[in-house]
Symmetry: C2
């Protein structure tokens, strides 16, 4: 059974509990001979160390809690996956929860996760309820926020700037001569990253003295076909649209496929820009101009930052900008 305790191992090896513990934890402080006996006893009785008890005693769980909006979107999965790799190589495990873009869900999940006494916390979101922020502050553990480059993180932030990225994409379109530029994003009220992409779009227009036209701005749920739908709505409503900036590759690809179905030339009929540079962006016909976001690096660096902090190092920059890159392809 899995009910073998450390004491059983100790008895079998003819040593005390502590020696077993030491063998497992810092084996250099134990004689080679006893070490072997202990290890033998461990495999002999099939001992599996109880990390719950260990955590209680040592006041360290070696667990990182992570909260993401969803796992159905590969972008979040990519970051988490990268972080999980880093953590595992350092003996940490991942407690993962999804909150579907709900601030209230996030708050309640933070509260219960904190009960598990994670050594650190990873949040793929930068807006939180006041209560959530307070809980995190009081917990006194390293926290890394991810997904947007905010000025005042709870503790640390590792990201790219959605504002700058969208602004830069819009300026690019303007530089290509497009003037009537539409913008499609998720619901800005519940997705602060898309809200900031919208702000970037607005800022670019403003700086170039292009009037903001609400008729050119749409909010859609996450799915390919809503990109197609958005494009049709926009062209129907405002036939003189010259370009569309989609705040996700998902919609941009959906729109591109709709154009393909209707045999519309892109960018002849309308130019299209995506966001994210997912793999399909460079496979689709025509290839998609988009903003490359460093999803994987975000996870890796975030994990590393947490580890540095847990190893007692004072983390120098609390705000890490991983940047973005406009990838120009055939759709513009």
């Amino acid at each position: 059974m899995g009910q073998v305790r450390m004491e059983d191992v100790a008895r079998r090896a003819g040593v005390s509990k502590v020696t077993v513990s030491r063998t497992l934890h810092c084996s250099e402080k134990v004689t080679e001979k006893t070490r072997r006996r202990v290890l033998q006893a461990i495999t002999a009785v099939g001992y599996v160390k109880n990390l719950v008890a260990g955590s209680l005693a040592s006041n360290r769980t070696n667990v990182i809690a992570a909260i993401v909006p969803t796992l159905t979107n590969a972008a979040y999965g990519t970051s988490v996956h990268a972080m999980a790799e880093v953590l595992r190589q350092n003996g940490f495990h991942l407690l993962l929860g999804t909150v579907d873009f709900s601030l209230a869900e996030e708050e309640s999940l933070i509260a219960t996760f904190l009960g598990r006494r994670p050594d650190a916390m990873y949040l793929h979101a930068c807006r939180h309820t006041p209560a959530a922020r307070r809980l995190l502050r009081n917990a006194g553990i390293p926290v890394v926020e991810v997904g947007d480059l905010i000025r005042h993180p709870i503790d640390m932030v590792v990201s790219y700037s959605n504002f700058e990225a969208a602004k830069s994409a819009t300026i690019y379109l303007l530089s290509k001569g497009y003037r009537r530029i539409a913008f499609v994003s998720a619901f800005k009220r519940e997705n602060e990253r898309h809200f900031n992409r919208w702000r970037g779009y607005c800022a670019a227009l403003r700086e170039n003295e292009i009037p903001y036209d609400p008729a050119l701005v749409l909010e859609e749920p996450f799915a390919f076909h809503f990109g197609a739908e958005a494009l049709l709505t926009l062209l129907n409503r405002t036939p003189d649209i010259q370009a569309v900036l989609f705040a996700s590759d998902l919609w941009a690809v959906g729109a591109l496929l709709e154009c393909s179905r209707r045999r519309w030339s892109v960018p002849g009929r309308v130019a299209i820009v995506g966001f994210g540079d997912q793999e399909i962006a460079r496979e689709i016909v025509p290839q998609l101009t988009t903003v490359r976001l460093p999803f994987e690096e975000v996870g890796r660096v975030a994990g590393q930052k947490l580890l540095d902090r847990l190893h007692g190092q004072s983390v120098k920059p609390k705000i890490v900008d991983l940047g973005f890159k406009l990838i120009e392809r055939a759709s513009t």
Copy 2:
């Protein structure tokens, strides 16, 4: 600080530790009046229950451990996400790890996860090392395997049959008159699901007395463009190929896009079938014929099975076949 203990709450509320615990756990066994005082004290001091200590004392963690190959593929993410929802509604949390299709990694992760004493385990894989199986058996907790319909699960299995699905897709192609049918999958040695899809393909050929031609079978890494590459390799090597069965939509879409680039008609030049019915399958041009797999349902049902078992119910069928469905579209 987050260092408030139950005793601090008790003192503040003028009751004993036990009463606080009871209020939190089974509030119906406590007077309405004391209950309110306790709850007030809890918010007053900002108490967050220590679930680590609770787990040690009660010998139940309310944690489900899940091991998946990767989170970068939305298919695995979709199942996990669905399960996480079910679990969370019942007060369970998810300990998640990725193993990148490595059996050795899986074994070592199972071993350390078991140390956290999860109440149950979810594995998105059906092949394991003997040691891994032994560990799981000895742990004496509910285990659900997912991803293929095997005959002898460690404990329970919730899935669809990859063998039958691929066989059925191949038979469909034969029924449409295609005779020279190619097959593209992941590396069969490290992916038992794709191995069984290949077996299904072989079985369909055999039953229809079509000789098996190794030149028509390819293994590729997971990425859109390897679908394009595979298609070109196959057509180059064996120009008379009439149809290709891809063991993932990813490659099928990649191949379709390559055809689009070269202005080849599909199914005129070659018929294409995918696997999975991801959202893009019905958006791509031409729409992709594919096998629909119930990823979300797999996660939901697997989670429910584990919960049923943890609630003491004897789970009737240990093997749950959620089926698949061939979706005929324009690519064949």
